[in-house]
Amino acid sequence: MNTELLNEISLNLQQGKAKLIKELVQQAIDEGIPAETILNDGLMAGMNVIGEKFKNNDVYIPEVLIAARAMNNGAQVLKPYLAASGVKAKGKVCIGTVQGDLHDIGKNLVKMMMEGKGLEVVDLGSDVAPETFIETAINENCQIIACSALLTTTMDVMGKVVELANEAGIRDKVRIMIGGAPVDEAFCRRIGADLYTEDAASAADAAAAFCAEMLG
């Protein structure tokens, strides 16, 4: 196996070289490296490094977004091969910024980090009604609902999401994760959500762990 090529994919992804990533992924396919290996040891390995660096304050939002753009480019090339070899996503998440709130940068970061962990993410955008989270989770068979808010005045909507999930009786099948600048551990406990994480990389780690646990 050409580990050097996989390494090259990881390194160039970290530097956000979107165009080159496409070529390198195609080259890896042509060399006969299995699609899943390219995904895990090339693309996702690179995103993991970026995620760690982000956690440690070594890189910031723009670098993550640029790396994620490169990741998307590589994943596009890989997609048909992954489907053909029967590789499934490691879990499914629906994510959105809650009703009344239009801030979506944090939400987008989390989404990209989650995709970097091999999860399928349904992006509901911003200003998302609590009902929409619940309906999507049920209709799309999501393991996780992820809610984001940047305003102290809109974060209470997350409590409503939890309430509706309780009413729908889906709490044993769907975990509710929350995040955003005004949110913290205490708030998470108060509204009865499953998990609060401090940054996008930790959110993705936790989501991957949840899915692994639930899907076995």
Binding site: D104, T153, T154
Partner: protein, 504 residues
């Protein structure tokens, strides 16, 4: 609630029920600012506490040093009073720099008042007021910190408090502060406050709403539609202002939108932006960066959430521009940093202008790279003042919001920054800002630095004009109606620029 206990706040005895939160006592007994709204996040409401109180919370263990905790320093917003206790608030920051209006542009004299007229600007951070006689002579000026800061440094925290039932209290506090300022103006001019027979009060939409005791709930969430945009004249009695006679006219100039307020309408009026044909941008750099572009007879405006980094909140050693604040930083020939401290004393923290300089210097001597990574974290500016990696990230968020807002606004008019002939900077921050450094860190586009005009408190100047030339009250109404709002949230151009400008 249990028994009544006695606590001593700076030696003043106060009786409260056991179990009372210290922040509730402070909010009624002092004006200690709680920048994050009392959520235990910013670490700025430090007080000394001894006696029967709760143990330090997780938040305090995170935000306070071992030494601080050992010496009885607590975060006021986390303390619960269980029995007799003594609380000492740190000395109030003295000598805070507050910029009041600059020289007024030429106007047609037609006073809105007969004897004396007052102009007031309710800034989110500071209040400023001026008293005039019918000849247009400035008789007195006064300013102070906005007492609403006890409910948070930013408008969102305060609106949250209003929604939680504090609306009447907020209205009472701002009304009392303005009444006191009117008395002070009269006293300084040697007249009685009852001789003030007309007032113009400007401010952003939220500030005017608090004064009016209007519901701000619709401004706390998308789509941010204000109940009231003002542009009306009421009486002093209606606004609960004492001092002037109850029937005294009070003009509240019009706001253009929920987050483009009357302060901006007034700033545009006094800037001369309209009387010139040149393409120009006016920006007020604050927690919310509001900006207006004038081009070919059209006015475009937007508002961008920069956060309070340049006002000291969210920066580990940030503070306002008072004594002990590093306000200027420059590089010596050997590439090391040198700094000036307001009041020529030991440095306690760093204010907005110092922050811009410090970041520019760290970039120049390559302690900081263009992605915002510090070579050594934290970077010492002037002991004990230092900037952490996290502080730099806060600056990146703030400067990028302002810069990207400007580029998006300019782009919305089909222009590029090269087309802009002049940049007007309104608000107190502009007076102390080093323009070269502001461009170096990317707070403003490089292309705009060549022709900058500093306006000072342009909102107060605009309010003064409305007071001295009442015909302008019609003009400002038309102006506010003409402003086209460029929406930045969920705007893909802004999102792209915001990422782009986060680098240095």
């Amino acid at each position: 609630m249990g028994e009544t206990i006695t606590v001593y706040l700076n030696d003043k005895a106060v009786s409260v029920p056991a179990g009372t939160a210290l922040k509730d006592v402070l909010r009624s007994e002092s004006s200690l600012p709680m920048p994050c709204g009392g959520h235990g996040k910013c670490g700025k409401c430090r007080v000394f506490v001894t006696g029967s109180v709760n143990a330090p919370t997780d938040e305090e263990r995170r935000l306070l040093s071992e030494r601080e905790l050992a010496s009885g320093v607590r975060l006021a917003c986390r303390v619960v009073l269980n029995g007799e206790a003594r609380i000492r608030t740190q000395e109030a920051v003295s000598g805070v720099r507050i910029v009041s209006g600059g020289v007024l542009p030429a106007y047609e004299p037609a006073p809105f008042f007969t004897q004396y007229g007052a102009a007031i600007d309710i800034g989110t951070t500071t209040l400023a007021a001026a008293l005039y006689d019918p000849s247009g002579a400035l008789l007195a000026k006064t300013s102070r910190m906005n007492p609403e800061s006890r409910w948070g440094a930013d408008v969102i925290s305060r609106m949250e408090a209003a929604r939680a039932g504090k609306r009447d209290e907020i209205a009472a506090v701002i009304r009392q502060a303005l009444s006191e300022m009117l008395e002070i103006l009269a006293l300084e001019a040697g007249v009685t406050a009852s001789a003030i027979d007309a007032i113009v009060i400007t401010g952003n939409t939220v500030m005017l709403s608090f004064l009016y005791n209007e519901d701000t709930e619709p401004l706390t969430h998308a789509p941010f539609i204000a109940n009231r945009l003002f542009g009306e004249t009421v009486t002093a009695a209606f606004l609960g202002l004492t001092g002037p006679l109850p029937e005294t006219k009070v003009c509240l100039p019009p706001c253009a939108a929920g987050f483009v307020g009357a302060d901006i309408s007034c700033a545009v009026l006094s800037s001369g932006l309209l009387s010139s044909d040149e393409t120009a941008v006016l920006v007020d750099i604050g927690t919310n960066g509001e900006m207006v572009l004038s081009h070919g007879g059209e006015l475009y405006a937007c508002s961008t959430a920069a956060g309070p980094a340049f006002e000291g909140a969210g920066i580990s050693m940030g503070m306002n521009g008072g004594d002990g604040a590093v306000d200027r930083v420059w590089l010596k020939e050997d590439g090391t940093l040198e700094a000036h401290v307001i009041g020529e004393r030991e440095a306690k923290g760093i204010c907005g202008s110092g922050l811009v300089d410090a970041v520019a210097c760290l970039l120049k001597n390559e302690t900081l790279d263009e992605t915002g990574r510090l070579e050594e974290d934290p970077a010492v500016i002037l002991p004990p003042v230092r900037l952490t990696g996290k502080d730099i990230r806060m600056v990146q968020l703030a400067k990028s919001a302002i810069h990207a807002g400007m580029r998006t606004l300019i782009g919305a008019a089909g222009l590029t920054p090269k087309d802009v002939r002049c940049l007007y900077i309104a608000g107190g921050f502009g007076n102390y800002l080093d323009i070269e450094n502001a461009a170096a860190i990317g707070l403003i586009p490089e292309e705009l630095k060549k022709n900058v005009r500093i306006l000072g408190n342009a909102a107060l100047s605009g309010a003064s004009l409305l007071l001295l030339s009442k015909g302008l009250q019609e003009d400002v109404r038309t102006l506010a109606e003409r402003i086209r709002i460029v929406e930045l949230s969920a705007n893909p151009v802004f999102a792209e620029e915001y990422m782009e400008q986060m680098f240095f």
